[in-house]
């Protein structure tokens, strides 16, 4: 008798067992610790925290370990955990002017107050496989000392803004930004909501969109006003205290993109802004986000919006890799009821077509 649809329960149990085994791999090889992932795969941890919208290196490391390095799966695990956590409130806005920067560069000016600080970057490495890494053995600690942290690092944007060359940042509103993880996305979205969506958005998707704006699909002549990466304090106002207290520090990467803008009848030409922010060290993400943020402002700035990156509904509806991954992969679920319905109608249509063909042949023969 036919049995293929039976035994789902056992099959799943076996599959889970096999997966756990596959995850562990060869028992002869030492197991990865969460500390190792945190310390040695730190950029993966950064990405999972950013797109998982949860700043917790330990949990992100656990998710990466459990997902066997599949970062989208890890982001999914972290989000599904985060969503169950109670929400106490929102922190005060981060003030990145007070960042203790490990890296800070601007491509708009040769020198800027506070200096260009290269910091740790892959930018100037030669992409040659370093076979020394294949062998084990400790490396000596860096001989270069990190840059002296300063109290206050002025922003390149503020300097341009002072001369009226750059649009001012949007005014801070008293209203708390809507939380996308608690409320559905309602279109059209305002900029804080768009930025929130982009911050959670898939790095690859944003990269491709940002890239497309550089290739003529919605060009907005970008310059890196500034990229900075380092520690910033996080403050929170507990209701019972009524004033802000510092509750910790997080590492973030921030990108201020400066873009050309022709001006209009009423507004003299002025540079405009695109903004990107990511947890940890994630410059590619922050830059792509800033490009897309600027592209999505086309309508507001009176520019023609004909390209994908400028299409708010298209971008915001498809940026989320947990949503996308789920929906693409749901095609693996059985669809045999729908397919059966299609079979029935395709057969009927084919039968009718065949009948028509026969009739044509008959009537032609009769002529």
């Amino acid at each position: 008798m036919y049995v293929a649809v039976k035994g789902g329960e056992t099959a799943i149990a076996h599959s889970l067992e096999l997966l756990a085994d596959k995850r562990r791999g060869d028992r002869e090889v030492a197991e990865l610790s969460l500390e190792q992932i945190d310390q040695q795969l730190g950029l993966a941890v950064d990405r999972v925290m950013t797109e998982g919208s949860c700043y917790d290196r330990g949990l992100a490391s656990l998710a990466i370990k459990q997902a066997r390095g599949d970062l989208i799966e890890a982001i999914f695990l972290l989000r599904a955990y985060r969503t169950t956590l109670p929400r106490f409130g929102a922190s005060e806005p981060l003030d990145t002017t007070h960042m203790v920067a490990e890296r800070r560069i601007s491509s708009t000016f040769k020198d800027v107050p506070g200096g260009q600080v290269l910091g740790p970057t892959y930018d100037y490495t030669h992409r040659l496989l370093d076979f020394a890494l294949a062998a084990s053995g400790e490396r000596p600690s860096a001989a270069t000392a990190p840059a002296e942290p300063t109290d206050r690092l002025p922003r390149v944007g503020d300097i341009l803004q002072r001369d009226g060359l750059l649009e001012p940042p949007p005014a801070r509103t008293a209203a708390e930004a809507q939380d996308l993880t608690r409320q559905p996305l309602v279109l059209p979205a305002d900029r804080p909501l768009r930025l929130q969506n982009l911050a959670r958005g898939d790095e690859g998707f944003l990269l491709a969109l940002g890239y497309s704006t550089q290739r003529g699909y919605g060009n907005n002549h970008p310059f890196v006003g500034e990229i900075r990466y380092g520690h910033v304090p996080v403050s929170f106002v507990p209701e019972e205290l009524g004033f802000a207290i510092e509750i910790g520090e997080i590492e973030v990467t921030e990108c201020d993109m400066v873009n050309q803008f022709a001006g209009s009848h009423d507004v003299p030409p002025q540079f405009t802004r695109g903004y990107g922010l990511a947890f940890g060290h994630a410059e590619r993400k922050a830059m792509a986000m800033a490009l897309v943020d600027r592209a999505l402002r086309a309508g507001e700035l009176g520019e023609a919006a004909n390209s994908p990156a400028q299409d708010e509904e298209f971008v915001l509806a498809h940026s989320d890799n947990v949503e996308g991954s789920g929906f693409v992969q749901h095609l693996k679920l059985p669809h045999y009821v729908d397919f059966q319905s299609e079979l029935v109608v395709v057969r009927a249509l084919r039968a009718e077509a065949e009948k028509r063909r026969e009739q044509t042949v008959l009537s032609q023969a009769a002529e």
Binding site: G8, E9, V322, S325, Y336, V337, L349
Partner: protein, 280 residues
Amino acid sequence: MPDTDIQGSAYNYAYLDEQTKRMIRRAILKAVAVPGYQVPFGGREMPLPYGWGTGGIQVTAAIIGRDDTLKVIDQGADDTTNAVSIRRFFARVADVATTTRTEEATIIQTRHRVPETPLRDGQILVFQVPIPEPLRMLEPRETETRTLHALSEYGVMQVSLYESIARHGRIAKTYNYPVMVNGRYIMSPSPIPKFDNPKLDRSPALQLYGAGREKRIYAVPPHTPVKSLDFDDHPFEIETWTESCALCGSKESFLDEMIVDDAGKRLFVCSDTDYCESRR
């Protein structure tokens, strides 16, 4: 207090925290009050992937209690892997009795089918919905479809049915067949075969539809008229089979086709496993 243990860490009863459940219940109430209208809700990340029933699971999690008896089906069957997985999830986080019997269930979560056994008063049917917007494939923009619903501007839907007849000689839409709810809103019945559409009409059970990825909930309250769209001279019809079920002999139920050998021999059996077993 969190009282259920999943993998070593504390989660609330039925996984979602109580605030989230209240928010979902409010959305459900609104949906019941405006039959067929898609209510946006703050869909949460669930521990199952999007597109695998997160909308239905959130609805079920928001309404389930310890007194409930839950049945979960996928493609009409209780033993398909996704149905098993969701049933196990609720057995684990909601400490709830499960069943495969349609009559015994108080909540039935389903993907792609409506049970053959007629539902009764007091039962709730929870549908998993991938694309809640029935006009989406005709008009990709949310801002525009929202306006079309608000203004009952449904000509474009009828155009698509017209076009189907013009091209195929009949309405070739077979599943996710659009319906008009209570004479006001056009609604996607989720990808159930059109065979099941008549069961939605004036059903004594409450129908709740949850779309997790798209963050929409909608509902058809008990005894609400649900009409499948058609033309006067091309009335709505459901699928029929010349075969009958190889296991129970049913001629009235939706049949799945199976290929049983390399020669391509076909066998037809009920898609609804509970219905089929109860007849054998």
